[in-house]
């Protein structure tokens, strides 16, 4: 873990969940890794036999993006959305919705990149519309959403776990 920080999960508001992580690279590289299909395919959602098979990006405000992952036994999972805000190397705001989502409305994801001394702090915040989102998250860890209790649990459990032992 010399080159990177640990992942932190927080809830800035009731409807949001944020993840913060430090990368040992300038933010323009992180921005590229987040917005160029051939680079995204190298890491996003790639795990346990899953690959990012379709990755289409129209990187402009009002432009659409679409991701489709393929997994073992022909399983497929797709999501997509529209870019609302793009500040090159600094900030991306986009809507996001999974194909198999049971919940009404779409979520809004914001990626903010802050660079200091050649290292980049990435904050990914997703704001959800409904409570049902959490149920979906339980079924697929790809969807990053839970309610306020989630983070409170995260704060509470380390101390409690010690006390319980």
């Amino acid at each position: 873990m010399a080159s990177s920080g640990t992942l932190k999960v927080t809830t800035p508001t009731d409807r949001e969940i944020a993840m913060t992580r430090v990368f040992d690279a300038p933010r323009r590289l992180v921005f590229e890794a987040y917005t160029r299909p051939e680079l995204l395919k190298r890491w996003l959602g790639v795990h346990a036999g899953w690959s990012l098979a379709v990755c289409e990006i129209d990187l402009r405000v009002g432009g659409a993006y679409r991701y489709v992952w393929r997994g073992p036994d022909g399983a497929e999972m797709g999501m997509g959305g529209v870019y609302r805000e793009i500040v090159r190397n600094e900030r991306i705001v986009a809507t996001e919705k999974f194909d198999q989502s049971w919940y009404p409305g779409e979520a809004v994801g914001t990626v903010v990149l802050l660079e200091q001394g050649g290292r980049t702090t990435l904050t990914m915040t997703v704001r959800y519309q409904s409570k049902e989102v959490r149920d979906m998250v339980l079924k697929t860890p790809m969807a990053s959403g839970v309610e306020a209790g989630f983070n409170k649990l995260a704060e509470l459990l380390p101390t409690m776990a010690q006390e319980i032992k």
Binding site: L7, A148, F150, K152, L153, M160, E163
Partner: protein
Amino acid sequence: MAPEQLDATFMALADPTRRAILARLATGEASVRELTEPFAMSQPAISKHLKVLERAGLVSRGRDAQRRPRRLEARPLAEANEWLERYRQFWEGQFQRLDALLEEMKVAEKKPGRRRR
């Protein structure tokens, strides 16, 4: 863990008084009266919170019929924590892939004449 159980756990934990009650019970069982003491709240109000915790399976009642002490049930919390950890690990795995990719990109950038774009 069933999603309903996880819902109930998170719902029960979304309240500061209930979290304080759990923290107190983590130090040992206690009666409703003992649990009420540290709070600026009536006993019925505390009982209401306890009911939510009991329904979520986070708290159970002890054998002593007179005191009816409440006890922390650690298992649902441990299970919720396990799920939370899986979630975190999933994303940490993703970001470790990104770490490796960024290292490659840095190297590629330093090579003269091989800049992308």
